[in-house]
């Protein structure tokens, strides 16, 4: 097909014009969006600056209901929620209570039942966060279904909200949620369970199935005992050491290390010779914290273990013992007849401490 040249020329001109106008429109649209965002940011910054001053006056002058805070315009309520949320992880005590009062005064908590079931994950997450941050106990039952939310972030915030309430009525669903997560994630999720407080430990002892049936929960129990330094749970940790489950035993050793009770030393010391290296590694760590000078020969022995993690923990254990342990490390590092593994790990630990200016 042969087209006349003037028609081709016209088509090219029109095509160019259409393309140019499209590009111009896009540029203008982008500039408009940017302009709008800038305006919103400027407005947000201005409001935040004003509210910061008001918040300081509100928090630090006057008492209870006499605290003044200017009314928040209806259209600013969402912005004010964001503003308040910035302080939820920072302030405690009376100031946290005052923040809660301020939040309740806004009245946005009335929409929580609807927002907790909203189709948008960000809205559900924000609602769960508010329940947790401002301890809205009357909403907790509505938060429980969010533990099964398809968006992990929402489920995490729901678990936090339930745990922060400290009500053991919600311990089971939150524990089940933690157990549904991958094992490598669980130590991180312990922080969520910790929020229940040490009262969770007796509850677990009473309500969990035996370790042989439910080993994963008992691993969490052992780790929580350590993070809460819950001395009352020590007898149960010693029982857990006698189970045949290597992961439970390692967790129990971790818990005992955190409790640092010297009376448990004779029970823990034989685990330094356990056939499984994760047990030896945990025992090495524990001996440094509970052993005292008696543990030095065992820890020196472990610095020549074939597994690096055991050697590293043994060197750390020696450092944790203080002056006597540090002298042993120096001796190992400087002794040309010492085992090569032991000498290397001692040197590595001493260099590490030297770089950081402490033992």
């Amino acid at each position: 097909m042969h087209l006349p040249p003037d028609l081709v020329l016209r088509a090219l001109i029109w095509g160019t014009l259409i393309l140019a106008s499209l590009v111009t429109s896009l540029i203008l649209l982008g500039a408009g969006i940017q302009f709008r965002r800038d305006r919103q940011n400027q407005y947000r910054i201005a409001r935040f600056q004003a509210w910061e001053k008001d918040l300081a006056t509100y928090l630090f002058s006057g008492e209870g209901a006499s605290r003044p805070f200017p009314p928040i315009a209806h259209e600013d309520r969402r912005l004010f929620q964001t503003f308040l949320a910035r302080y939820r992880a920072t302030l405690a005590g009376q100031e946290a209570e005052a923040l809660r009062d301020l939040y309740l005064r806004l009245g946005v908590h009335n929409s929580l039942p609807r927002r907790l079931q909203h189709r948008l994950a960000t809205t559900r997450a924000q609602a769960a966060l508010e329940v947790g941050a401002f301890r809205l106990t009357e909403q907790l039952e509505r938060v429980v279904p969010l533990l099964n939310d398809p968006v992990p972030y929402v489920a995490h915030l729901a678990a936090q909200a339930l745990a922060r309430a400290g009500d053991l009525h919600f311990a089971r669903p939150v524990l089940d949620w933690v157990l549904r997560e991958e094992r490598y994630q669980r130590e991180r999720l312990l922080r969520v369970l910790e929020a229940f407080g040490p009262g969770l430990l007796p509850w677990l002892e009473e309500n969990l199935e035996p370790p042989a049936t439910d080993p994963e929960s008992w691993i969490l129990f052992a780790l929580l005992t350590g993070s809460h330094r819950h001395r009352e749970s020590e007898p149960r940790l010693l029982e857990l050491l006698e189970t045949r489950d290597m992961d439970i035993q390692a967790a129990a050793l971790k818990g005992l290390a955190a409790l640092a009770d010297p009376l448990t030393y004779p029970t823990v010391e034989p685990y330094a010779r356990h056939e499984a290296w994760p047990i030896r590694a945990q025992a090495a760590k524990a001996l440094g914290l509970i052993g005292g000078p008696d543990a030095i020969p065992t820890l020196i022995e472990l610095t020549s273990d074939p597994v690096y993690e055991v050697r590293r923990n043994a060197a750390q254990g020696l450092a944790d013992l203080g002056h006597a342990g540090a002298s042993a490390l120096t001796w190992l590092a400087e002794d040309p007849t010492a085992d090569r593994f032991a000498r290397d790990i001692a040197m590595e630990r001493l260099e590490w401490a030297d770089e950081r200016g402490h033992q």
Binding site: E52, A56, F60, Y87, T90, L91
Partner: protein, 134 residues
């Protein structure tokens, strides 16, 4: 509780979270203290060199120079700057970090969330101790 701070008492807040820094600043200014704010350890150290700071509060986790390093740097300075009382504030409840910071020379340690009233009281105690020790 009434406290009479000597005038001027200068406090340096080293904190990368602006909201936290400003709320602490507001509370301390209500006490009549003169407050300087830095968002990391490097800037904090610069202010400390420039001003006659009486008390330091610092966050632990910060960009450029963290609180632990800042404590070490301050303690390496000759007195009186090297002896300025330091309060560490952290969102991390890790016991080993607390021990490390105290061993490095921090005078006290608080974990977030904090009560501003408790913070002021601790700063007051630290100031009193430093003052009575000369």
């Amino acid at each position: 509780m009434s406290r009479t701070w000597p005038e001027p008492t200068r406090v340096l807040i080293v904190e990368d979270d602006q909201a936290t820094a400003r709320i602490i600043q507001a509370r301390l200014e209500m006490e009549g203290l003169q407050v300087f704010v830095a968002s990391n350890g490097v800037d904090g150290l610069e202010i400390l060199h420039r001003e006659a700071i009486d008390l330091v509060t610092t966050d632990l986790m910060m960009p450029a120079m963290n609180g632990f390093r800042l404590v070490q740097e301050i303690r390496d300075l000759p007195p009186p700057k090297g002896r300025v009382p330091i309060l560490l504030i952290s969102s991390n409840q890790n016991e080993q970090d607390m021990v490390r910071c105290l061993a490095a020379g921090a005078d006290d340690y608080m974990t977030k969330p904090i009560s501003a009233s408790v913070l002021v009281e601790r700063l007051w105690r630290m100031h009193q101790r430093a003052f009575s020790a000369g």
